[in-house]
Symmetry: C2
Subunit: 453 residues, 2 copies
């Protein structure tokens, strides 16, 4: 059967679902995307998710391969490093990588709309406001309930279309994965961390100027918690407070207006000075939880889960979307390699990606500690400086972990993770050198690199 | 409100649900138990689970506290140790503990029936053939569908009774836990192992004699897999083959009658000689999977999960039922301690039990390797002999791990696990002693014990 005769359903018109639909329509499949929400291009919807995202090399490579990278880069704001804000308002800057390496602040909604429109132009059919009430893994079929607000009232209430392949790209709380969960021998875990998050807002200054350094990801590290801020094209910053649900301080401990206002004021003085109504935003905006989801297999018969549906991670490495885009990129590569023979591609795909997505899940958890605590630690900053020096001397032999993950899309996440573990052991030893603060420029760098093997 | 005014629903009339209903009715609550299946006392049902179980001290302590231990011990068959069967049919016996310490082979159905009847006598209401289709955690209410075969046809099809407390004792695939799974910040994991199991049967000999040693748990350790056998009161043995699903050999590799018959014959020669139709049993009996389930919290509002519903474990330590019974015993103790103040008892209960049930989950996974592989290893057997000797000399200071878990109900699983880890480190060192095979009786036992601290 030629590809054009095959009909693939993608559940979810989010970032990964939309991107994947483009890859598949380009391969000649008939592609139908089912989305629970309304068309975000027509209605101004709260995406229910963070407003901006950090797009980096793995995501860009995928966008390049479908010819959309250049267009999207225009709306992205480069962030060259972390700008740390101390309690006293002192700033310090830690570059992400080498000169010219940066990550990009990009609007989730903007990116999603571009992907959907590009997909539609190529012939992908989008069905909005369609709730999937059942996924039939035996028959590669789904049960679709049309929302009451659905535009097309001629449709019946319930449809049960059948496909050659169903792909769940429906996010961390995937209904497709949920169907798999009740089959035998399906491993699954959901692990929430003790912190939740809440968004706050720094508006543009006069004439749409940026009130903080534009080309940086801002961090207010406060040991057990933190706030971050990413720039938006209109000059505003979206701030996200990552804060414990319980304990002191925590979301539950801050109750009265007075407590909230005093806490924000004292903890994030310089940021709050730029927020017209921080306390009110704090009270009005929702508090959301943060979860790591894992499962295996990703394939049951002719149904696949991909992106967050297969491997939701916490946001602290800025790799959630990038990992999902890389899923699509690698799936497309395998389809090339096996001439669209899905019977080979599907098992290969899950075996290839599972170790990588497990690795990024762990890296993301580890990075929370680095961001909220270590970046304010002089020893940690010295360690980063030494690693940057080693990298400058031996650019191919010693690449810092953050760079492997973020800027080296040809290094698998699982390889980056394993190498990072080794580097950490070596650097732990290096940091024991007496008087390291003064001697670090005269270390035996060749010897250090040699230990990595 | 006095206990008698409070109405508690227990979902599941299995071992844990039935036992718990007795504790609660004795405390003066009104107790209703809802069970999906028919009354096993009236219909001869396949329990869908293993036929016999290993009852040991933790389970016995719970049965004693409700006055049923003596009655149940009458039908139990003591097993004093493991009887290993080599490929060549050579037998070797490894005692479980000291003289007089043993575990008990007991019929799952028999035990369940005794518990249900005792509960009913005390006033517990059992509702059989009731499918719970929804658990409302906000309103402590359940939606009950009466099966079509339900005896009482006057009942409406669906009921939505409300309770003061709902307790899910409905096993590894709990519908109560499932309702919790879709609430925010609920951690959950299900992990299947690569092995499944299948039951086989050795009938009684003439005059109901036992064809293998009666008072032992029999093991055919075969490195990557194993078979075990437990005695039944009628002289038969229930054998369970634990075998990989995939690979070679495995359930999927054995396809033809010829392959099955040859494999069983060559691998378990002495056992198969006692089975009238091993190959046919193999083909007819179902293959089941083995899973570890974990979750947290166990409590949402006024709904609790307990036993396998909260912490299903693989069967290799014979502690699944014992851990569930210990849950009930400890919950009852907390109710004593806090005068039935559930607002204190419920959070305390989950905090107390979670580390213990996590520990037994890990111990059960570890013990599979010990049973299928190590018990056939001379070094391992020597290690056991040395530990038994240390225990004889210092009975209070060094208790072997298996004994702590199985015979020392006053040691928490989590303590046993931590102590076992320390003992393993110490014994790893001891086993490096040159010529240990000949010198082991002259080791510095006092020094070894001292290392445990």
């Amino acid at each position: 059967m030629s590809n054009s005769k095959k009909h693939i359903a993608i559940i979810g018109a989010g970032l990964v679902g939309s991107l994947l639909s483009i890859y598949l329509i380009k391969r000649g499949y008939k592609v139908s995307v089912y989305e629970r929400r309304a068309d975000m291009r027509k209605q101004n919807l709260d995406a229910g998710r963070s407003i901006n995202l950090a797009l980096s090399n793995r995501g860009i490579r995928a966008l390049e391969s479908i010819g959309l990278a250049e267009q999207l880069k225009e709306t992205a704001i480069p962030m060259h490093g972390r700008m740390m804000h101390s309690r006293e308002g002192k700033l310090s800057f830690l570059p992400y990588g080498k000169e010219g390496q940066f990550i990009n602040s990009i609007s989730r909604a903007g990116l999603n709309k571009v992907l959907m429109s590009a997909a539609e132009q190529q012939g992908v059919e989008f069905h909005f406001e369609q709730r999937i009430t059942k996924v039939d893994l035996e028959n590669t079929s789904i049960e679709v309930h049309h929302s009451q607000t659905a535009a097309d009232h001629r449709l019946p209430d319930v449809d049960r279309p059948k496909f050659d392949l169903v792909i769940g790209a429906d996010g961390a709380f995937s209904v497709v994965r949920q169907a798999m969960q009740f089959t035998d021998r399906f491993d699954f875990s959901q692990d929430f961390i003790d912190h939740g998050y809440k968004e706050l807002h720094i508006p543009p200054g006069s004439n749409s100027t940026f009130q903080l350094e534009k080309n940086a990801l801002h961090i207010w590290p406060r040991e057990s918690f933190m706030m971050i801020a990413l720039p938006n094209p209109d000059g505003s910053f979206t701030c996200t407070l990552f804060f414990p649900f319980e304990g002191n301080p925590s979301f539950s401990a801050l109750k009265t207006n007075e407590e909230i206002s005093t806490f924000l004021q004292e903890t994030f003085t310089d940021a709050v000075a730029l927020m017209p109504d921080a306390s009110n935003d704090y009270k009005t905006n929702p508090t959301s939880s943060l979860v790591t989801m894992k499962c295996f297999p990703w394939v049951k018969n002719k149904t696949l889960v991909i992106g967050d549906a297969a491997h939701a991670v916490v946001p602290f490495y800025g790799q959630g979307m990038n990992a999902g885009f890389e899923d699509c990129y690698k799936l497309n590569q395998l389809l090339d390699q096996y001439n669209d023979d899905w019977d080979h591609v599907l098992p290969e795909f899950q075996m290839l990606r599972k170790p990588d997505t497990d690795a990024i899940a762990q890296l993301a958890l580890d990075n929370f500690i680095e961001m909220r605590d270590l970046v304010a630690d002089p020893e940690f900053l010295l360690r980063k400086k030494i690693e940057a020096k080693i990298n400058a001397l031996y650019p191919d032999q010693w690449i810092p972990l953050y760079s492997m993950v973020t800027f080296n899309e040809n290094i698998r996440y699982s390889t980056a993770y394993a190498t990072g573990q080794k580097q950490k052991q070596i650097m732990d030893e290096v940091m024991k050198t007496p008087d390291i603060e003064n001697k670090w420029e005269h270390l035996d760098f060749a010897g250090i690199v040699a230990k990595l093997g």
